[in-house]
Amino acid sequence: MNDETDTTARKISSIVIIVIIVALALSLSALYQAYDLFINEDPTMGLWLLIGFIGLALSTYMLLQTRSRMKRFTLKTPPITTTIICSKCGFKNVRNFERGDYILKKLDSCSKCKGTLMISAIYRKVDEKGKELKIFS
């Protein structure tokens, strides 16, 4: 676990993917072979079938694992919105968060009625991923 791991990990992952794809192709061809032998009623068909399935299972498993690992390597930034309202005329403006914003901050006067503008809310919206079972709520 030193500083080289990052770059080497990336290099390895591309080689791994090529190997996985080759393995996938080989196991598919083994399955095809098994089918061929099945038509000819050859008893060695079982061996090919077994090799094909094991290869298929292993390579798809590996592929899924490397994919999920690569996907996880980001820090997500959720959009944060700042809501500004005018206390006098009710003018409301929603924009992206900027550094220096805080809730209950007074801003310069309203462009419409010269009343004072105030930041009333700063929050992030979350999309609920995966609905939970209704039974338990």
Partner: protein, 384 residues
């Protein structure tokens, strides 16, 4: 390992070739030998194979942790450079900061440990603040607080990474199943915590309000536009009237990242009124259980405050002295929401919490009473 033994026992792997090759030719013999070999390998090396799988899993998480830590350090450094406008490169100082340790006071003789712990934490904060001022000379009070919070989150990420790395390397070195297993079992929870710290770090560096500040926000809404004064330590108090009662509302001073010392402030207000306080109401964010909705509001009794425990101790002490009842209004959220930018649900819950506080006041006190309402939590991104 037992799993494999059961499986092989059930399907009689040795018999399997005969299903495919009833003839019993040479190929079936090879097949049988192959299966026997697998069986033997799993009997003797099964545990070791399992262990390697676990080590790989830990390694994956460790890579992720390293990424998070490095990213955190980068963000902290960038923010310091942006705000601090220091002439010298702060990188070296930041790296030193990330390695700071705080030694807890010895608890063999626990009498008076609260004050010892508080003193150590005070020294720590003082030291951190000085350090941040050196890193970022151009920063104002608000930004110094935010930067300190940012750096603390980065230090926490660094610590988590190093502990997991320690167990990973130790496990690899000793090949002890117990070392590897215990770290592998708690890994999902640790990763959750690390992700939470990472989003906290981002929120701190921008000065965005976080979920933990829900309590402070409720009180900020109560005291908005009123005359306030500063009170011990890093807190503000406003004397307002709610439903015909005189209420001292207390929160940490915003909008910088700051939790203040609400215990000290509550004690001070009680002393100022010679103990003639009819009730104390505390509002805080509380950890929800899985399955509860974020932003649910719960009521209860007791001092609702987290942290190292020194403030809770002080509050409990001072209300005990005058036998003042204490009520709590809690806003439920999970650990991830507590330290990342405030969710919409939680923001909306603060509106409902204001109403709930008024309800509690109406039910538990009479008109003309004097009460204390304290909003607890990190007030980053929340003014007053």
């Amino acid at each position: 390992m037992q799993f494999f033994a059961v499986v092989t026992g059930l399907i009689h792997l040795e018999m399997l070739p005969f299903l495919f090759f009833p003839g019993g030719d040479s190929l079936s013999w090879i097949f049988q030998a192959f299966f026997s070999l697998i069986f033997v390998v799993f009997v003797f090396y099964g545990q070791r194979i399992q262990m390697y799988i676990m080590i790989r899993e830990i390694q994956g998480s460790l890579l992720r942790l390293k990424f998070i830590r490095d990213e955190g350090r980068k963000i902290a450094l960038k923010t310091i450079k942006e705000i601090g406008k220091s002439e010298v490169d702060p990188a070296e100082r930041v790296d030193r900061f990330l390695e700071y340790v705080t030694i807890r006071p010895e608890s063999m003789d626990p009498a008076g440990i609260v004050w010892k712990l508080e003193h150590i934490l005070d020294v720590r904060e003082e030291r951190f603040k000085d350090e941040v001022k050196l890193m970022a000379p151009a920063a104002d009070e608000t930004n110094i607080n935010n930067l300190e919070n940012t750096l603390e989150a980065a230090a926490a990420l660094n610590f988590i990474y190093k502990v997991i790395r320690h167990f990973y390397l130790l496990g690899k070195k000793t090949l002890s199943l117990y070392i590897i297993m215990q770290i592998q079992m708690i890994l999902p929870l640790i990763m959750r915590e690390a992700e939470a710290y990472a989003s906290a770090l981002k929120a701190f560096s921008y000065g965005q309000p976080i979920g933990d500040g829900a309590g402070a926000l409720v009180v900020a809404k109560l005291m908005y536009g009123r005359r306030k004064r500063k009170i011990e330590k890093d807190c503000v108090v406003a004397k307002i009237s709610i439903e015909g009662r005189t209420a001292y509302v207390i929160k940490a001073e915003g909008p910088g990242g700051n939790v203040g010392k609400p215990g000290e402030a509550i004690k001070r207000v009680i002393e100022e009124n010679d103990g003639k306080i009819s009730t104390v109401i505390m509002i805080d964010a509380a950890l929800k259980l899985e399955g509860e909705k974020p932003g649910e509001i719960a009521e209860g009794v007791g001092a609702a405050i987290g942290g190292p425990g020194t403030e809770q101790y002080k509050i409990e002490n001072s209300i005990l002295k005058y036998k003042i009842p204490i009520h709590a209004v809690l806003i439920k959220e999970d650990i991830g929401d507590a330290v990342s930018p405030m969710r919409k649900e939680i923001f909306e819950a603060t509106e409902a919490a204001v109403e709930r506080v008024k309800c509690v006041i109406k039910e538990k006190t009479k008109e003309g009473d004097t009460i204390i309402v304290a909003g607890i939590g990190n007030t980053i991104g929340v003014g007053q």
